[in-house]
């Protein structure tokens, strides 16, 4: 009997492990009276999360070097949320109630941002997410403005990301490579639902017929069945919507020599470490991103990138730039409001109109269904598309910024088939 009990206790423990229990939050620094404090809540052990706190700290250092906000310095307090909604909410409460931060920059996971949003409303805390893309975040602001107006999205929402995919696919795949068909392959997450819906609507208009939409569990490690299913449909391009996964589907695409172009949005592929993580299997992968090394989208891009490399020793993930801009937008709003009153900060945030690192930076207004989300467009932030080419992230779209041509490994036969 004893063993039977051990089996049950062990099974419980194993299930707890599988569900990823454990962990806690800890603030990085104690508080002081003078400076304006901004909380940064993200997952420090993820490259995308680490770039958030690093970008925010870089922005604070730059603002402070130029005299701070109305004479007060900005201080960043970093909290690790392990990408857990519960940890993030706890850190948020602590930031607001104990550490008395005046604004929060948080998370790259939509589910976490959606958990934090009601707390931003309750605690009247100006909050911006530098990467979470679910349109629900800004929809809530639109539907219940008085309550949720404290929330901002500092990166493109999923419907706009879908537009970016379609706009670039039209230029790159349809016009240059004469492609006609696509399959959508997305992880099952909050941000990909509106992304898929958007792509299903706009890809046909861009000239790509959508043959199928395949959604899979973000815990998936073996992508062979998915690639087989897709291959049977003979599409010219796979438009991905992946962020929780990235290394595995890319390596398996390469190792199994799936003969179809991999495009769309692969958030991990935007990491500068992705080439090494995949041992070069990334060669030929196309993805949407914020910018690439050496590309001057605005006069701000290159100096900030150089500072980042100098301070942290590597080029940031795109969240390094969006977090930098988020802190600058918050500081600018506080400066113009001459106050750290949350309602005044929000009113000024709405008027944000600045040269960001990734483009002209501002938010949609109350009439837009995506109130307080980052504006998309050629005059605003349009994002860029890049391709991994022999260890380098090469910018391939939009054409006026990136004249480079696409190059695919020889096993990607859909490129030649479509051209015929």
């Amino acid at each position: 009997m004893r063993h039977r009990w051990v089996v049950r206790a062990g099974a419980g423990a194993a299930l707890a492990l599988a569900l990823g229990l454990g962990g806690g939050t800890a603030p990085a620094r104690a508080a002081g009276p003078g400076p304006i404090k901004i909380g940064v809540i993200a997952e420090e052990s993820a490259i995308v999360g680490q770039s958030i706190s690093q970008g925010a700290q870089l922005a604070a250092a730059d603002i402070n070097a130029h005299g701070g906000v109305n004479g007060r310095k900005i201080e960043i307090i970093v909290y690790d949320d392990h990408s857990s909604a519960a940890d993030a909410v706890r850190a948020f409460q602590r930031a607001a109630e104990q550490d008395h931060v005046k604004a929060v920059v948080t998370t790259f996971i939509s589910e976490v941002a959606l958990a934090v949003e009601p707390w931003a409303a309750r605690l009247h805390m100006p909050t911006i997410t530098p990467a979470a893309a679910s349109d629900l975040i800004s929809k809530q602001v639109h539907d219940n403005y008085a309550r949720f107006k404290y929330m901002f999205e500092g990166w493109l929402t999923a419907p706009d990301l879908a537009l970016a995919v379609c706009d670039s696919s039209h230029d790159l795949f349809v016009k240059q490579l004469h492609m006609k068909t696509a399959v959508i392959m997305s992880e099952d997450a909050d941000w990909t639902k509106p992304l898929d819906d958007g792509m299903k609507t706009c890809l046909p208009k861009a000239g790509l017929k959508v043959l199928d939409e395949i959604r899979f569990n973000p815990d998936t490690t073996d992508f062979t069945p998915i690639y087989n299913k897709i291959e049977a449909l003979h599409p010219d391009v796979i438009e991905t919507g992946i962020a929780h996964v990235g290394v595995q589907p890319t390596v398996q695409w390469h190792d199994q020599q799936v003969p179809i172009v991999l495009g769309g949005i692969s958030a991990q592929a935007t990491n500068p470490t992705f080439w090494k993580d995949t041992n070069g299997a990334a060669n030929g992968v196309v993805t949407q991103t914020g910018t690439v090394a050496g590309l001057a989208i605005t006069p701000e891009t290159l100096p900030v990138a150089a500072e980042f490399v100098k301070k942290y020793g590597h080029f940031p993930a795109f969240t390094g730039f969006t977090a930098y801009d988020a802190v600058r937008a918050l500081a600018g709003a506080m400066q113009r409001a001459h106050s750290t009153n949350p309602d005044k900060i929000v009113a000024q945030m709405e008027k944000t109109d600045m040269a960001g690192t990734l483009g002209h930076y501002g938010f949609y207004g109350r009439k837009s269904p995506y109130t307080h989300a980052l504006r998309y467009g050629t005059d605003w932030v349009s994002s860029v598309f890049m391709q991994w080419q022999n260890g380098k992230q090469v910018c391939i779209w939009p054409a006026k910024l990136c004249p480079n041509k696409m190059v695919f490994p020889s096993f990607v036969k859909s490129v030649h088939l479509a051209a015929k």
Partner: protein, 291 residues
């Protein structure tokens, strides 16, 4: 065609599951230790192997060797720092030793996970395939590396079977699993046998870790899931039964692959959990369990 695809794809993944689980079940059978740090040890092997290959030019084979040794080292640390002190403690009652071992290895597994989070970040990494390229098996395009993994797994499992069934040392292991007290009465040193088991276990878990890293990649975040998957397989097969674990590995591997191909890739992890629940209710001793 689809059936053949499922057969080939499921074979490699099941072989890998089997390799990961045999050491785990051997450990329980002989030493009575359910090592909940199992996934952590596999992850260390994969991460260190990747790191040696990517940053120090160890090459795919050098990386695999270094990774396997790292797995062995991690197993030794688990034994000497976590398990042996509990087994030797005079303050822990014998009756409670198992729960202490469970808790101890569980906590150690979490420490490994958080530690490798800190050192390597939780970004998944993959080791370079030992043999690149693809081959066609009856029309199914299969990566050569996948075939190699299947062969290596079965070679390792075959060697283990030979060791257990054909050598003097193996007989001692079997005896220790059936009647440890009898073995000590015959003048054998149990702690020496335990050390042998931990060595075998470390090599198997390390090898499984590097093969996993070259097949589907590893990340510190996988540690818990890998332990859970080994646990599911071992419970299904019968705790302590090596052949049971192998059968169970194939049941779980194929159940997952068939679900992914025929139902939906999203539901892939579900059958393993359902099987675990059913087994605990209906046949807690597992398919070939002795206890």
């Amino acid at each position: 065609m689809l059936a053949l695809q499922i057969l080939i794809d499921g074979f490699a993944i099941s072989a890998l599951y089997g390799l990961g689980a045999v050491g785990f079940t051997l450990m329980f059978g002989v030493c009575g230790v359910l090592n909940l740090a199992h996934g952590g040890i596999m992850v260390i092997a994969g991460l260190v192997g990747w790191w040696a290959a990517a940053n120090y030019g160890a090459g795919p084979y050098g990386g695999a060797a270094i990774g396997t040794l790292a797995g062995l080292l991690a197993a030794y640390v688990t034994y000497f720092v976590v398990v042996r002190p509990i087994q030797r403690s005079r303050t822990i009652p014998r009756a409670e030793e198992e729960i202490f071992l469970l808790t101890g290895t569980l906590l150690w597994g979490i420490m490994i996970q958080v530690g490798s989070d800190y050192v390597f970040s939780n970004n998944p990494v993959t080791m370079r395939a030992m043999i690149p390229g693809v081959m066609h098996i009856a029309g199914v395009r299969t990566p050569r590396n996948e075939v190699l993994i299947g062969i290596v797994c079965w070679a390792a499992i075959g060697l283990l079977t030979l060791l257990v069934n054909r050598t003097r040392l193996g007989k001692q292991l079997l005896a220790a699993s059936i009647n440890p007290r009898g073995l000590t009465l015959l003048g054998f040193e149990l702690s020496r046998i335990y050390l042998v088991v931990w060595t075998i276990y470390g090599l198997l878990a390390g090898l499984a870790g590097v093969l996993l890293a070259s097949f589907i990649g590893v990340s510190s975040a996988n540690a818990g899931a890998l332990t859970a998957s080994a646990f599911t397989i071992v419970i299904l097969g019968g705790l302590g039964s090596v052949p049971g674990s192998l059968i169970a590995a194939y049941v779980v591997g194929y159940a997952e692959t068939i679900t992914a191909y025929l139902v939906a890739p999203t539901l892939r992890p579900i059958p393993a959990l359902l099987i675990l629940v059913v087994v605990i209710y209906v046949r807690p001793q597992g398919l070939l369990g002795r206890r």
